[in-house]
Symmetry: C2
Subunit: 356 residues, 2 copies
Amino acid sequence: MARVTIADIARRANVSTSAVSYALNDRPGVGEATRRDILAIAESMGWRPNRAARSLQAARANAVGLIFRRDKDSAEETSSFLLRFLDGVESELSEHDIVLVVHAVPDHAAEIEVYRRWYAESRVDGVILINPVVDDLRLPAVVKLGMPAVVVGDVRGHSPLPAVWTDDTEAATLAVEHLIGLGHRRIARVGGHVELLHTRIRKAAFSKALAAARLGGDLNVDNATEEDAERVTRRLLARKSPPTAILYEGDTMAMRALVTLRELGVSVPKDLSVMVWDDSPLCRLAYPSLTALRRDAFMYGRLVAAHLVTRLSGQAVTDRRGTVAEIQVRDSTGPAPVTVRDRKSGRQKDAGAGIR
Amino acid sequence: MARVTIADIARRANVSTSAVSYALNDRPGVGEATRRDILAIAESMGWRPNRAARSLQAARANAVGLIFRRDKDSAEETSSFLLRFLDGVESELSEHDIVLVVHAVPDHAAEIEVYRRWYAESRVDGVILINPVVDDLRLPAVVKLGMPAVVVGDVRGHSPLPAVWTDDTEAATLAVEHLIGLGHRRIARVGGHVELLHTRIRKAAFSKALAAARLGGDLNVDNATEEDAERVTRRLLARKSPPTAILYEGDTMAMRALVTLRELGVSVPKDLSVMVWDDSPLCRLAYPSLTALRRDAFMYGRLVAAHLVTRLSGQAVTDRRGTVAEIQVRDSTGPAPVTVRDRKSGRQKDAGAGIR
DNA sequence: CGAGACCTGTTACACGTTTAAGTAGGCGGC
DNA sequence: GCCGCCTACTTAAACGTGTAACAGGTCTCG
């Protein structure tokens, strides 16, 4: 019933508590026979080290923290990525006997305040920072605290904190190549908040990938939210040369777009191909199901956690490339609409999806 | 830089550490002038209590745990409910300066093992148990440990552990009444795993609500998963008297059903009304958008956490009713198909949704 | 056979906090 | 003027671990 301490074991084994401590921690200073004795007794009594005592002694909390924003992180996208990511983090941490402490905050100021508190209270040994934004105030704040941290996102060069990043340029290239392979020439992108670093990077990566394929046009919409999806989609299709493929950033945005397209009588993928950046169950269940760029959120979480654990062990760590994205091809992408003129003719003119 | 302790403050204030402790904890034993002095110094040095030391002293971890199943809890439904729930729990706990520790496990055996470890290590003061099943082994295990816990789900009578429950009978009645109000007479239900306690309760509640409305029929399918949705839906509609409305348990199942219905040429809601038990972003974004039973996951989480906090304070707590469900009416429910014969005639024969 | 080296175990203290018990000094009351 | 009591503080111990420093005893080797 009552919790058993090393003192209890020491009494039973007729030795001092230090002998017990040495034995249980596999350190020299105690004979083989006594050690076995002690281990047996500890086992039979069901001893487990008291974490508070260990933490106090070692000045180590055996915990890491992760803070997410209440409104933001659960609104723009369905939360499956975050939960899978958390699962991965937790899975890695538990192998090192470290617990994950989560916390929700309304904004970055509150988040920084919590870091300060956690540090001063020695509540966590390190933190995982997600969704970095441009000129992120959290980064210098954490650096100043001297708190071990790993940033999830590509902040290479922008911050002294180690980052685990995914190659969005490569991902964008994959997406563009997939669409080009299907014959698309006018490819649009509808992106989320540009304050988010990954959005900014993806935007650049997308432009770069298009340029590499000698395709141009600035069919790029920024700062779109789920509510904007309808308006933006209509506007894109109303252009003189409407795109034949659109890459949406965020599953919810793409879903809203699908509804709009249905109302407009635009058939997916016959008239227009639709892609989503970052896969989710929603993409799988949509009609038509959505082709998406997929990252293994679970493995990503594990990698991030492993990186932080290494950092906590005192080793210096630098940036690390995370899991690579791949394309999950589904029903929403298909061959570009047939061209009006023969392919061989110099200039092509696609039968875009334009509003009828 | 270095963390500041009460000893540092004591030195600066030329008093003993106990005087500092008394002052900081607003306890008698120190004069008013000295108290102000100490508080000012503590403030200026940025002192925060070391959690490990406090925990050790008070034999209290100031943490509560919540374990979710790796496969299960994130598969059957989109995870938005869980994340919102976690947010609510966290929000309540943080007001009491208690942290939330999360952990993912593959099965109940592993979960019980973690409870044992947490208890023996004094890692958490209490736990929140979610998704109770029939003959849940976790409940007696936690009871045996003597660990404070709150169960999320209606285990009233089945367990000595306090529960926070939602009235599924009332919710089922709401749903059935909504459909009956639209003229539906043959209402089916497609439910998930009956091992889950809430599934079993909902099933009974559904039958009871139908019976109360003098409607019968056993249009009840159990143990359906997302993969089964297509087959089950086809089978229901192939009946001699097909239902005019179906209530699916789980958003993913309903989404799959929508796809099937589209393929079958069954129009929603003209030919068939569709409802979902437990709302999600997916329901909102589906086409047509899905009428659903909605619970405030955030408030539910807060309530559960508050209940556990009360329990931790030493007070005995009993069961507590959680937030009530309401209906979020959307586009997937509408008037029942018109009857073939005149309403006034004794027997009605609906033009069901049957397969064409 | 005695001096060190080595093995096994102990004692003592630290980590940062709380708190029971103890000790001055001042003050009032009889 | 002495006793007792209150105030304001200090000292000491405790929570459960870990570990440096030390103490016997045995072994080895010159």
